[in-house]
Symmetry: C2
Subunit: 417 residues, 2 copies
């Protein structure tokens, strides 16, 4: 299939974009090409789709389930008991709902850290998004569970060999306070041997940091270094509590960092994310929303705005983390972190694109499209989205939307009841 | 005119709302009443419209005009030179654009701190919103300018006597670093004599706070106290830099505080807003967006979210400033601050209402409508808005929208060129 987007704003100029199969083939003015589908891009801007680099998809069913509570009480009394009631069906509909929300807000690729990858895969592939899926690993330092986690991952990899190329398996041990060093080391070896990416939570809260010092005698970053698991294929979610030495280590090993401003703020894990220091040392920082149980939506536009606002605020410096920089975090940096040829509107890149509707107050006037997207708009500005060369939303219409919403409401009752 | 909203979610139950003239007359199940207009409220929730308690309306024309710059450079090289080019026409279209954006995001009442109240009044009354308008006063400590500011205000009050009842004049000296004590005192007397509200910027930045100590020997709050201008009719925008004694003074005089989280973060004036201390002492805190030149949109839903997130974050406490509390800041507290009988869905209150579309991912699932609005949704969730008993938006359609956007783009060229 081929798509021609006519007269769309690209680098602030009207441009045509020609997509063939799954790639962007040609970008230019007044292209003389026939295409199966022609999209009128007038009063719209073309931008790369977002890469949401950290979330827990089916947790969207617990959006707003338990608010304004202390963290431990929230987890033990509300979230974990509800999660224990998940079935294949609730995971499937929770993930479909998540995909719908991401399509409607311009995310073309995401990294899911949850369970039941078979159901997640089914939902994601039906929706047409690009994704990394997993079966999050825990062993709670129990050698029996360590072995179970290894076997589970080996089996999942077999399952994942039947996945379409847009969905890849990722190895994801949960966190250093729930996963043994032995399992972390095995995961790193397994990921390397099978050419997989690896993902884990790290240094999210002050408590985690202090316990790491107490239990391992090292900061979380230095502990992972000692285990020998740091590599360019590893991405770490949060990384709020780090010192200069930790950041230098992340740079040395080219480890990718996923900043999650919404959840860091809402559950109060830490607002002083060290973006400036990471940038100085050359660490690739990308962006995630975290789950809707923690931070309530999957809107990457909101994540960009919060990341920039917070960075400016706590440093008392309005010049840091500009609109363009945070936009790069949400797009090209995420693509780099996960090794996909996307995150930019360029010939030869994957056709993972969004068209932003400029005919709205958020873009009036429009001195700078990216600045307006980041600072003024929200996810509802996305009019059309194309992933892997397929149109998943046009004029804000997504096929099957009402059925997903209705079924997700029923699925939410199963786990919240 | 009368309006009957049928089967709308109110306090989480399906309810009918009957509006007659400008008031909410009856709330109940299955009301047996005829009305001129019947609105189907299925899959919608009714809530009070927002009160945006601090902004500079026509500055919306400079949205995104100058980003990520140091404050002084931004003001001196970009914003002030552009503002100097304003004409009656640019003020009019800038205000129309602002009203359109507020209608589309659920704000029924706002407090404008700008210039040319005649043009602002014309724009606001055409759009049907409730507003406080002004001619912001400066004298730069020059006695000649002090007298000019007084005469201007007296003339404006005469003009304002022809305003519709939905628009009121407010006395608004700019700030303690641009306005003399003499003018502040005169404003307070004038406001009292004419039963007007008074509004000013206060304690926005650390620089302002430190200069106040240096120049007046007092904190900004104590300086205003010494001048004798504190009263329940006074609202103060920002109030970031205050100590416990300042907060006690604000409570003693029942002065209202307007928190502006977006601009406080983006222009880095201060993120540690002392909401908890103000609440403890009984200070009424309401919410504003500030201008689009500073913080880029007028979305009160975003303002609520940021206020709550920031408060939780800097205190490392996820329980503070709950969804319901910040919703009250954005509605009933704003109404209280400006002395209008609105900000709640109650019989006998002004019919300033919004209908929120629940049939979207942001409200799926919907355990708690207010929490989902604050933490998950954004202004695009507002489906219908009624102000003073008139429908200003229905199913997201506002009359005259395209003309306002097109004309505002032209007006923006005049001041930015």
């Amino acid at each position: 299939m081929s798509i021609l987007i006519r007269n769309v704003l690209f680098n602030e100029k009207p441009t045509d974009i020609f997509i063939e199969g799954t790639f962007i083939r040609q970008i230019g003015q007044d292209l003389q090409i026939d295409a199966d589908v022609v999209i009128d891009g007038t009063k719209k801007a073309v931008l790369p789709g977002f890469v949401n680099a950290h979330l827990h998809a089916a947790l969207t069913l617990l959006r707003g389930f338990a608010e304004d509570m202390p963290l431990e009480k929230w987890l033990h009394e509300k979230i974990w008991p509800a999660e224990a009631k998940h079935t294949d069906e609730t995971i499937y509909w929770g993930t479909k709902l998540t995909c719908l929300e991401m399509i409607e807000s311009g995310t073309t690729c995401f990294n899911d850290m949850y369970f039941r990858p078979k159901q997640v895969y089914q939902a994601v592939s039906e929706m047409g998004l690009r994704a990394f899926v997993t079966d999050t690993l825990f062993d709670f330092f129990d050698p029996k569970k360590t072995e179970q986690a290894k076997r589970l991952t080996e089996e999942n990899l077999k399952l994942a060999q039947s996945f379409e190329s847009t969905v890849r398996y990722i190895v994801a041990p949960h966190a250093i306070y729930t996963v043994s060093g032995e399992l972390y080391k095995w995961c790193a070896d397994f990921a390397k041997a099978n050419n997989l990416n690896m993902h884990t939570h790290l240094s999210e809260s002050r408590t985690e940091y202090e316990n790491s010092i107490k239990n391992f005698g090292l900061s979380p970053v230095k502990y992972l270094k000692k285990l020998g698991v740091l590599s360019p294929n590893l991405s770490l979610a949060h990384v709020v509590w780090v010192d200069d030495e930790d950041i230098q280590i992340l740079a040395d090993y080219d480890v990718k960092v996923v900043h999650n401003p919404q959840s860091n703020l809402k559950i109060s894990s830490g607002y002083q994310f060290k973006y400036v220091e990471m940038k100085e040392k050359g660490v690739t920082v990308c962006l995630g929303t975290d789950s809707c149980a923690a931070s309530n939506n999957l809107d990457m536009t909101e994540a960009m705005k919060l990341a920039s606002f917070m960075q400016k605020a706590w440093r008392f410096d309005p010049t840091v983390l500009s609109g363009q920089e945070v936009f790069d975090m949400a797009t090209i940096n995420g693509a780099k972190a996960f090794g996909i040829n996307a995150g930019a509107v360029k010939e030869g890149y994957l056709a993972d694109l969004i068209l932003v509707d400029l005919n709205q107050t958020a873009f009036t006037p429009n001195y700078d499209t990216v600045a307006n997207l980041v600072y003024s708009a929200n996810g509802s500005a996305i009019d059309t989205m194309i992933c892997n060369g397929k149109i998943l939303m046009k004029n804000r219409i997504v096929q099957g939307r009402q059925d997903i919403i209705d079924s997700a409401i029923e699925a939410a009752k199963v786990i919240s009841g």
